[in-house]
Symmetry: C2
Amino acid sequence: MKTIKKIKRMQEISDGLRRNKKTIGFVPTMGFLHKGHLSLIDIANKMSDVTVVSIFVNPTQFGPNEDFGNYPRDLERDKKLLREKGCSILFYPDAKKMYNEGFRTEVYVKGLSKVLCGATRKTHFKGVTTVVAKLFNIVKPDIAVFGQKDAQQAIIIKRMVKDLNYNIKIITGPIIREDDGLAMSSRNIYLTKQQRKDATILYESLKEAKRMISNGEAKASRVIKQMKKMISSKKTARIDYIKAVDTKELKTVKYIKGEVLIAVACYFGRARLIDNIIVNV
Amino acid sequence: MKTIKKIKRMQEISDGLRRNKKTIGFVPTMGFLHKGHLSLIDIANKMSDVTVVSIFVNPTQFGPNEDFGNYPRDLERDKKLLREKGCSILFYPDAKKMYNEGFRTEVYVKGLSKVLCGATRKTHFKGVTTVVAKLFNIVKPDIAVFGQKDAQQAIIIKRMVKDLNYNIKIITGPIIREDDGLAMSSRNIYLTKQQRKDATILYESLKEAKRMISNGEAKASRVIKQMKKMISSKKTARIDYIKAVDTKELKTVKYIKGEVLIAVACYFGRARLIDNIIVNV
């Protein structure tokens, strides 16, 4: 596996691959890789000739009171995992090179970026779309794989790709879970033993939502009320939001009909965890 | 010359060219071509293997009270001129395809977009940077050529390209003028005979500014005062702004030192004309 730090060098490599008719699969990450990331790399490996993984803890997608400084990092462990997965190229740029002096351009997807997680994390998605646009221009992939755990992010990126005419196929990989159902996340490391135990309630509540809907419940408010009750029963949980929204415009729905994203964000101590399911009625 | 309307088709052609190691030169225009545009095509022809010219009167860069509806169009004449120039490909997309249903992404260069022309045309540069980002993703050029008449646009595009890591060299072609000095513009067609005569004062005032500076004048306010006096002497002229700014941050300068952009925007009837010079002291 090659580790590339320089932006220009990465672009040269990608240009060379494309000239040689090799397709490039891309998995952008913030590192501290877990099985969720690795499953996305499997998808990229399967769908393209060469897989590029980026590791970049992007400062601009963290708010001033968020965990940028503490975000877990372990490059050597990540490299080992990537090598084992057969990743061809790790792109590992320097923050000073990504945001050089006088940087002042932003890519923004209106509307979709200010709801759900965007309501709490005001500048988060602007940071995400801007850095992903940059990474797309550097890595020049044919396909890019994002995780379904960040459902809103995947929807926003798909919109950006369509709107800005990036010739890139966006694939969403399913959520990978621990044995007890907790969605894999680099931030799970923040959890104390009690919080870790309590955090399983997120997926339990989503499963209960699914069960209610299968049994004919059509009112979103009833489903959300039940989820709220379950999650609130855990002492270490502090709910940020529980929402049922359509999967295109992310607008709150009153009735569960068609494709609906049920999404939850919840603090356990200093960890802010998210999880979701999509139901199709 | 091929005329390509479909976005996907244009991308396929560009991918094919790049695979065959052909370099692509790109000149984005709004059509109604004049010698200014043609000079940019000459530059693209010289610097690349294949020249792509786009004609797209981009609705999003016009304000609600501006001339989008009346903007001059003459596709057949444009095609003839492009063929004579040896342009290989005309990209001529449909506005409905460029801005499909649910479009909501914007590319914005902060600060630089709200001064000079951006102070009067509040949403203009957001429209420009967004459509140019799209066109870059569709045409995938190696170089792109912009006119120095739109000095602020060229500076903003260069910043966007740097910030978003577009692997594209931006070239600025010099202002092409009529025999009496009026900068070529598709909007000159709006001018009545008297306005056309009066409009030559823009370049006259810029030449006077240059002369003053060559003779040692260092105070921007004195230069601007003299320009204002000259332009105001014409009855049909209504000045929008006259500014002296640095060429990186577009900040107003008090003293003419280093590279300074002297830019003027002025209405003559319904035509809003711009012109500029760069001095280096």
